[in-house]
Each structure stands twice: as C-alpha cells, then as structure tokens.
C-alpha cells in the first residue's frame, strides 16, 4: 500500500495552492510601441500586382528563386507562400468573375511578410535570445549564429511568418527584417522603395497611422496625392481614393504591429483571420510569471512530490524488490 487517500489529497491540495496562490503576480504589463518604431503601410487598393517588391526583396536579401510549376512552365520564380527562400509575397484573392478590383466578386491583393509585432511571440518564445526586437526601431530580427534551430518561433507566430529552410544542409530561420542591413547604408525597405504606386510605404509608424487616418477620412472616388516609397517622399502621384473597410489590420491585432494593412475587402478573405487584441506572448509570459514567480510554487511542488515518494518508500519497507514482496504477500493471502 502507498500513501493513504487522505494524505494524497492533502499533498495534492497543498501543491495546487502553492502553484496558484503562492505567487499573486499581476498579468505582465502591455508592451508599448518603441518611440522610433518604423514599419510599412500596405494599401491593397493601390497594389497593381506587379510584384516588383518580391523581386527587389529577393535581390536585396540574396534569396533563391522558387521554381514552382505554374501553367506548365517552371521558368519563373513563383512561390506559393512565404518560405525559407521567400520572405515577402503578394497574393491575390479571387472571387466571382474576378473582373473588378477590390470587390468581393472581383479580386484584391494582399501582402504577407513579417508584421514586426509590438509584443512579438517569436521573441518571447526563443529559448536562446536569437530572436530580438530592437528597442529603438522595433524591428524584429534574428541572429543566425545564436539560433539553435528549435523552430519554436515558427510554431509561435500567429501569422506563420518565420520559416525554416528544411532543404538546406545547415538550415536556418528566414523572415523579413525590414531591410535592416540597408538602413546602415542610409536606405530603407527595398519593397517600399521599388513599389511604383506607393502601395507599400515605409515610414515611422506614427506617421503611417496619420496617413491611414488621412486616407480613411477622404471621400471614396475623389482623387488625392499618394506618396511613393516612404512617408514624406517628393515622389508622389494623384490617384482615386478607394472605399476602405473600417478595419486597419495590425492596429489592434495581438497588441499591435508595425506593419499595417488597408483594404477594400474584408481581411478574412485575405486569409487574415480574426486575432485577439491581447498578445499571446503577454498571456503566456503572465502565466509563466505566476507559476515560476520566486520559484516558490515549483519548490513547493517538488517538496510535495518528495514527501509522497518518501512515504511510499516507507510503506514498502527497506527491501529493494517490492514486486517480489508483493507477489509473496499475495501468495500468502
């Protein structure tokens, strides 16, 4: 016989109490956008689907083409999704007769690349600190050298952004780092720089949000001046204002992101499913903060386990072979 029912329940109750109440820690505070946060504004209504951003991205980040078979031809770089070799992609929603742009019966474009979350799950879950968020620019980037290839970030990202190069002998994680390497040369994100319609626009997130407010306040159908490349650019053009839906993707999703999307079709059509306003990283870190706070609960739990183990050992006696004893006991019965 092990420990009796009463003792077992006592120990279990004690352990649970320790785990839940011993550390009355508040939920971790909500992360705020860094002051100098930079990001992108993708306005799907301006995108013409030229995919210049995709080729510029591959050229600037030294990424290999992906020769998928498209209409019987395998000569073109035709990725079907972001991957270890494609960190930025333009995708098309097609519905109905797909005749008119930015309607449910027509077609619409969307972009998928890293959203540079304010409270990034990939940074939170990385066990070795290879994934980091810059405290000034807010750019989420990673160090190939520090990465151990655990792929926790791949599983954690709500947007499915970090990808692993399974086809490489020495695989690594690939994701958009907002052309961090170009910033040292005084340049900015290549995708925004080449975009001929300013559909992808680079700039400080604060300024991007002002631009979003300006566009949403305009009357659909009227004409306005759109900047190309980056906020405040002298390269502008005049074009019609689209009928935006009342949702800015990335404004609230999982605590906010530094890449914001405007669209004229609902985001769930663009495979941007509803996400909570609270960052998953905040939830998990709060929970872990409670459990491991001061190591009180784990120590209490370990203590309870030791207690149980000791009592069991005592009940079995000093003999090393409990099975035989038991068999003998039974035989005796």
């Amino acid at each position: 016989m092990g420990m009796d029912r009463r003792n077992f329940l006592k120990a279990a109750a004690g352990g649970t109490l320790a785990a839940t109440c011993a550390a009355p820690v508040e939920a971790r505070e909500k992360r705020e956008m860094p002051q100098g946060a930079v990001g992108l504004l993708f306005d799907g209504t301006l995108c013409i689907g030229c995919r210049a951003c995709m080729s510029a991205c591959k050229a600037e980040n030294d990424l290999a083409p992906e020769f998928n078979e498209i209409e019987g031809s395998t000569y073109w770089d035709a990725p079907l999704d972001i991957s270890g070799h494609t960190i930025n992609i333009i995708k098309a929603y097609v519905g109905g007769d797909s005749d008119e742009k930015d309607t449910l019966d027509g077609y619409a474009f969307t972009k998928l690349s890293c959203f540079h979350c304010v409270d990034a799950s990939c940074v939170s879950c990385c066990p070795v600190g290879a994934m980091t968020k810059d405290s000034v620019s807010g750019i989420v980037s990673h160090s190939k050298d520090a990465c151990i290839g655990c792929r926790y970030c791949v599983a954690a990202c709500p947007f499915g952004v970090p990808r692993f190069t399974y086809d490489q002998t020495f695989p690594y994680i690939a994701k958009c780092q907002l052309c961090k390497h170009r910033m040292a040369e005084g340049k900015y994100a290549a995708c925004a720089e080449v975009c001929p319609t300013g559909a992808t626009l680079y700039g400080p997130v604060k300024e991007l949000k002002k631009e979003i407010a300006r566009r949403k306040a305009l009357t659909p159908g009227t004409e306005t001046e759109f900047p190309r490349g980056h906020i405040g650019s002298s390269d502008t053009f005049v074009g019609p204002v689209a009928k935006y839906i009342d949702h800015v993707w990335g404004e609230k999703e999982i605590g906010g992101t530094q890449v914001l999307h405007l669209s004229a079709v609902p985001f769930d059509k663009l495979d941007k499913k509803p996400l909570p306003d609270v960052a998953p990283a905040n939830v998990s870190e709060s929970l872990q903060g409670r459990i491991y706070h001061g190591m009180i609960a784990p120590i209490a739990f370990l203590g309870a386990l030791v207690l149980v183990a000791k009592r069991s050992a005592k009940a079995l006696g000093e003999a090393g072979e409990p099975d035989h004893t038991q068999a003998g006991d039974r035989k005796g019965e």
């Binding site: 080729s55 498209i70 995708k91 098309a92 053009f237």
Partner: protein, 387 residues
C-alpha cells in the same frame, strides 16, 4: 510547300512589276509581312499574292469628317510598299478628299458613280468623328452633313472600316464637353464596323485588314469593340521591350533621370501600356528604326487606341493593370492544403490501430505461453484467483 511555290510561279510578276513598280522579291516580301501581321498560317502569303495579282481592284470610298487627317498622313508614310501605291494601284481609291485630284462637284460625282458601279461591293473607310448634335450641322461636305453622307455611303458598302480613334469611338472631338455631339461611325450607323483606333493608327493594320478582305473576301476576326484581334488582341504591356524592367521594379522617375537614360520602365511616368490594346511593340511605327514607337523613343504610351484612356486620363496618371484580371498565377491568400482528419477517417484509422494493438497484445501473450517460466506459469491461476 511545293504547291505554294507553284502557285507563286503562276503569278504574273511582270504585270505586278509594271503596275506596282515593285520587284518580285519586294512584292513577295510585302505579302509575307502582311500575312505575319495578320497572324495567318504559313502559305497564306501565296493566297495574298494571288489576290493582289488579280486585276480586279476593289473600290474604296474614303470619307473625312471631324479629324486632323493624321490617319491619312501616317498611312502615306508607310513604305513597304509605299502606301500610295497600295492605295492607288492595289485598290481603286475612288473618293478621298486629301488625295483626290478632282474637286467640288466633280469629286462628288465620282463618289456617286463609284457607289452606283460597285453597289454592295465597295469598302467604305471612315476617318474622323461624326457630329450628331443639332442635326449634324457642325460638319458638312458639299452641303451634305456628315451624318447623311456616312449613312448614304454605308448603305451599299460591303464593309465599313473606321480608321483612327475619332471614327472608332469619337476620339478628340468627343472629349468632354463634346460641343458638337461627336460620335464614332459604329455608333452613328448602329452596326458593327471594323474599328482601327489609334491616334494615328498603325498603317499596317489598315493594309492588313484590306488585304485580308481582298484575299478571303471576309473581314478579320473582331473583338467585342470591333477591333481586329490580330492587331488589338494583346496589351502593349505584354510585348513591351521594357517589360523586364517593370517586373524587376526598375522605373524611370522623371524624364532624363538615370533610369530614363538607361531605358527603364516608364510606368511611373504614366505609361498606359498596361491598359492599352495594340500591336505597337510588335510592328513598331513609322518605319524609322528598330525602336520607332513611343515607348521605344522614351515617351510613355498615352493609350491612343483605347477609349476612356487617351484624351480622358491625364498623360501622367498611373495606368490600371489589365493583365492581372483574373490573376492566374498569383498565390491565393491561403493556398489549398490537405483538409484535417474527418471523423470517418479517424474512426477507420482507430479501428485499424485497435486491431493491430489487439493482435500485438495477443501475440505477446502467446509468446509468453510458448516460452513459459515454470514459476510464472504456475502463478497465473493464482493471480486470477486472487483477483
């Protein structure tokens, strides 16, 4: 191939040389070029040669309404063969206000004579828009309004060809506020006409249409806007020599900048190639050099063949891309993946797994029986009893 050659041999080249003033070689070259512009199959050049060789020249009546004569001017500058030879010798141009030697009542009499002699057989070419406001008084020739003249000439024509954007859909004269109520020939006549829009249109598209009619006694295949598919079936963007720069995101930002001097894409300067249907990049324009078309010379396309683009959209305004409708090789927002496990599949799998587990358990049990330990074998019944 032999049949073609024999057919060519049966053509009287001496007669053609006399009539057109072109050598056998030049003549066959012209036929081949026309056949390829039309997108006809191999061997068609022989049929074209045969048709042109025939002495019976079709009568053509050419009307001028609200226009600048740019269409005629561009036509006169074609040089394989020189177009006036084609106009004057291959076809019988019985009425053309710019090229006519006659004038006044003499000219009008010639038109009426040609219409009478070739009733139901002549080709009517219309150049310029037709004003319909106030009973069409804004354009008169010999005291007759353009509307009346067009209707009179079209009544007995074998086919009507509208040359230039004005005749096709109104062009410049129909631009807002359209004070004279200008319309295209097709709209005024209320029937399908062959539209060859352009400002001016490519002369070879007219030659090819006329030669197609001569050869097959039928008009070429037309699109929904009445434009021959051989010439207007594709967007300029699709065959543009600068397309590679567009795809790579290399754009000229202003005239004379680095990108412009390097021959990069002119989209940002307002090039309308992505929304304009025409064969300019393929057949070029003006026979000057191998870059002799607007985009080749460094100026963005203004969409002169497309209704609603030229004279409507500012030249610097960005074009709307037409190649992406519907987007064929774009990845979908969520690419199709295998669906999750269905209940039936899960149940079937569970049944198989259960059977396998059961079988393994039984095997293990039997294995135990075949190689029993004396003590344990004896113990089993005891265990059961104990349970």
């Amino acid at each position: 191939m032999h049949a073609q050659i024999q057919e060519q041999h049966s053509i009287d080249f001496d007669a053609i040389e006399d009539r057109l003033g072109m050598s056998r070689r030049d003549f066959l070259k012209f036929c081949t070029v026309t056949a390829s512009t039309l997108g006809l199959s191999a061997g068609a050049e022989a049929a074209i040669a045969k048709a042109i060789e025939s002495a019976k020249r079709p009568s053509v009546i050419w009307l001028h309404f609200q226009e600048c004569t740019g269409c005629t001017e561009s036509l006169l500058r074609a040089n394989h063969p020189t177009l006036e030879r084609l106009i004057l010798d291959i076809i019988s141009l019985d009425y053309h206000e710019t090229l006519f030697a006659a004038a006044g009542h003499q000219a009008e009499a010639a038109r009426h004579q040609a219409m009478k002699d070739n009733k139901g057989k002549y080709l009517l070419v219309v150049e310029g828009a037709i004003p319909v406001k106030d009973n069409g008084i804004y354009c008169k020739i010999g005291g007759q309004t353009a509307v009346d003249m067009l209707k009179e000439c079209a009544a007995d024509a074998a086919a009507v060809v509208a040359i230039g954007s004005c005749a096709s859909w109104g062009g410049v004269p129909s631009t807002k506020p359209n004070p004279t109520g200008s319309e295209g020939a097709g709209e005024v006549l209320g029937k399908t006409v062959v539209n060859l829009p352009g400002c001016p249109p490519n002369p070879y598209n007219l030659i090819s249409t006329v030669v197609h009619y001569l050869t097959f006694n039928d008009l070429p295949a037309l699109d929904t806007k009445g434009r021959p598919k051989f010439a207007y079936g594709r967007l300029i963007h699709e065959n543009c020599e600068r397309r590679g720069h567009f795809d790579a995101g290399r754009f000229a930002k202003e005239f004379g900048d680095e990108g412009h001097r390097k021959g990069w894409c002119l989209y940002k300067l307002g090039c309308k190639g992505p929304e304009t249907h025409a064969n300019c990049p393929a057949v070029l324009f003006g026979d000057v050099s191998n870059a002799s078309w607007p985009v080749g010379t460094g100026h963005p396309c203004i969409g002169c063949t497309e209704e609603g683009i030229v004279f409507t959209k500012p030249i610097h305004a960005l074009a709307e891309l037409k190649t992406v409708t519907p987007p064929v090789f774009f990845a979908r927002p969520a690419e199709e993946r295998g669906t999750g496990v269905t209940f039936a599949a899960a149940a079937a799998l569970a049944a198989i797994a259960g059977a396998a587990a059961g079988g393994t358990a039984m095997l293990a049990r039997n294995l135990g029986k075949k190689a029993p330990e004396p003590g344990q074998d004896a113990a089993r019944p005891a265990e059961k009893k104990g349970g």
